[in-house]
Amino acid sequence: MSMYRAGISLMLSLVAMAGLFILLEADLLAVIQIMMNVGGMLVMTLFMVMLMMDPGGEMMWDMKRRMRMKGFAALSMSMPPELPAEKSFERNGALSPPSNPNGQNDSQVRLEDIAINSDWQEENEEEKEMAEKDNEHENEMMSGNGTGTNGAGGDDGELFRRMHEMQRAIAIIQQQLGLLQQQLVELQQDLLLTPGSGGQSRTGQGSSSTERSSSTENSGGMATYLHSPSPLMGQSAWQGQPRPGQAANSPNPTVYTCPMHPEIRQPNPGRCPKCGMDLVPAEGEEIAEGEGNNVAASTSPASKTAPASASAATLYTCPMHPEVRQPGPGRCPKCGIDLVPEGGDGGESENNGGGPGNNQGAGQERTSHSSHGDRNNQVQGGHRQDHGQMMHSSGKGGGEVETAEQMQKRSPKAYYRMMEGMAMSTRQLPLAGLFSILAGLLLVGLVLLVAWPSRPAAPDLDGPSRVGDLLLSNYMIAFEGAAFLILAGILGAVLLARRERERKKRGKGNGSIAGEQLNQEVQ
């Protein structure tokens, strides 16, 4: 039930009461009714309603509508619609723009694909099991309706239970995605550690380790690497590309970065996967730097190795499956991830923060002829960075687990209550309707049973002046008492509302979120 509509209806009913008063020839009362009740009280009521969340019941309505759609959009119901973590996990998980609204199943299927095709089987066995458990959960929740624990009953309880289940499943999936990311990092690290089998792979290692060593401050380098879709890849694949025009004519040379996380770089605007802020175009220096790199590419000693790396870099590989190699860009046949050019790592032109000495050709030569210690150093650097990344993802995974456990503990009824407390659109107690109908019938029956005396005399025309005379003569004390009562009531209400605000302003109270929000609004 919507509070806003209830308030408007109450105002209309009070106006109708004033009309009834006029019908009853009590004009003064009608005027007072409109002035006092409609003008004063309902302004206060509506003001109060406006302070609450979701005064119009729009949120609950939207929740129900989305539940009916049963889509992925249902996830964002209880949270603010653009919660950054969820979005980022979504982006991380799909590794490609989610095409269908039913992204949940999409990511799950993809997850299972990855699990099946993975090289690190034993670790992914658990994940497959978890995914299967997820599936079972979903089947349960789709089929088993009668086992709900909600005592509230009705469609709403079922809907909320289902929503709760879906959120839990999504939390688990997100956690798994975090694990997968971590394993990705580990896999890349393994690639660094193992000596390459062929020249091509060594080239790939070399450049990737160059990327690692050159971007030590770049804790999110892996994420950027994974996130950066093909235009950036194409731009950074200058190294072995026989067509340098591609880099120059690259459609989107502007790199977007997060104002809070400079390591986040994406070729197109969007939101930061870490904090959800809007990405801003990076400064000109990065762009210029990238172009400088390109120039260096055409003139640097890398051109000497161009014939060798040209054949290497025209091969596109999958970041997840290094055995997949294709001559052109596309998608991995195993997992569907966008293929990246093997020779040039995606992160190079964007992550390379060094000067002219640290250009790609030098890095490549150094790594291809690097001593063992040098590589060890690089690997250590990469390892440190990977550790940070792992900490990052594991922290997020832990949070997700906690959320899932919390949601498991929370019964659907309690969840509904929480939503209800947030949403200000209240649910009706079941017995109230019956009781009130009985009371109404009883009252109407009494009214109809009793033979009321009737005196058809009309009131005087000067009723209001008679009332004024009475108020100021016989009922003077009552009138003054009412006046002081109003004064005391208004003052009390203002003080009740204001003292709290001052206490909050002093900042010592452990204010609730709502209080802080309210304070912000007031300020």
């Binding site: 509070m3 009853l24 009590a26 209800e420 009494l446 009737s454 009138f479 009531g489 309210l518």
Partner: protein, 104 residues
């Protein structure tokens, strides 16, 4: 004078009272409960005015009584809203089921 008789007003008042009881009992939001109380009060006032009009229209004391009752209703609404606002700030909800403890 043709208008509706006393019974019609009393029936309207009874129905309004029942609606007010329903709102008071069924809603969990404190403001909704206050709105239900307001409807109940208005039903009582309507009954008062109807009785004045059809039983003793020459005496204007009931109108004074109605004015005092409206005043009390307004004050009750103001104080109730103030309390709800305070509790809402403290607890972040206006669900009266959560107001069960008055301490803190």
């Amino acid at each position: 004078m043709g208008g509706p008789g006393l019974v019609a007003y009393l029936v309207v008042g009874a129905v309004m009272f029942a609606i007010g009881i329903f709102g008071t009992l069924s809603q969990r939001g404190a403001i909704m409960v206050l709105m239900g109380l307001e409807i109940i009060l208005n039903a009582a006032i309507l009954n008062l005015v109807a009785f004045w009009r059809f039983i003793n229209p020459g005496d204007y004391s009931p109108q004074v009584f109605v004015i005092v009752a409206m005043t009390i209703g307004a004050v009750e609404m103001a104080v109730g809203l103030g309390i709800v606002l305070m509790v809402y700030r403290k607890k972040g909800t206006q669900n009266i089921d959560k107001f069960s403890e008055m301490k803190e």
